[in-house]
Point group: C2
Chain length 162, copies 2
């Protein structure tokens, strides 16, 4: 039934619970996992504004007319992509050790939209999701990214709870 | 991972899609299904008010002082329970034919609350749900019962889309 599963993760604790669940689903016929980390566009942009404001001197070399902001934003993205690669490595290792075929994608964009885009592109059979992301308050019952994906996904969504 | 699954159904089309998904999950180690149909308390109450109002004569025999309304409501519930038994029979048959252990429960109450209550009582490993029930508009992206269960369930929820 679920041979190829999309597993978007923001590396939060509840998202790691989904990894354990996936590993246990190996015997249930899951063969392939698309591991996805989306670098949030708005987070990168905020971070780059913040840094420019509070540490203006350190970015002086990037402040060439017309190109400065874009170049700085690009450096923020690259740093986050590097962090994502490191963060995803143990997930990838655990899945490969359990003999899953693994494809890792690190994308930039609006997380909930990018997840649905990759769902289509990769033609997965289901999505597995933690009910919350990193950015959600403990008190919330469902994160906004998860909620959007559950509502708009065309494929079954397996929601792992905190 | 998911050995025992709770499958609440309102016999709607999308809920029947969840049945096919469950059948396909047999090879994935699912052994036991708790099939649940909740007779909605508020629906039964509305229906009984409606009938009394438009067909007052036909319920005259139930209109004994102090007991009439309760007795009539009871007869509405019983008719709906009978309908549920008939509606669930093909689900039960399909699951048994696929060698699942099946327990069927027909309960009265508020569907989303009763589903969570039965989840606890039966100590299931996951819930499988259609994204919509019968009462939901085509335009909606997620039904209110499903949404409540996804938010409040303590176990993984597998959401099957329309």
């Amino acid at each position: 039934m679920f041979k190829k599963i999309l597993y978007p993760t923001d590396l939060s604790d509840v998202s790691k619970k989904a990894l354990n669940c996936l590993l246990a689903m190996k015997s249930g016929g899951v063969k392939e996992v698309v591991l996805l980390r989306v670098i949030s566009q708005s987070n990168a942009e905020s971070l780059s504004q913040y840094h420019k404001h509070f540490f203006p001197g350190t970015h002086a070399h990037l402040e060439t007319p017309g190109k400065g902001v874009a170049a700085f934003l690009e450096s923020v993205y690259r740093a986050q992509e590097e962090e994502a690669r490191e963060g995803l490595a143990p997930f990838e290792a655990a899945l490969k050790e359990a003999h899953f075929k693994v494809k890792t994608r690190i994308e930039r964009g609006v997380p909930q939209l990018k997840i649905l885009e990759v769902e289509e592109q990769e033609n997965v059979d289901a999505i597995i999701l933690g009910s919350h992301g990193r950015s959600n308050l403990k008190e919330m019952l469902l994160g906004s990214v998860s909620e959007h994906v559950i509502r708009h996904s065309r494929k079954p969504v397996i929601v792992i709870k905190r």
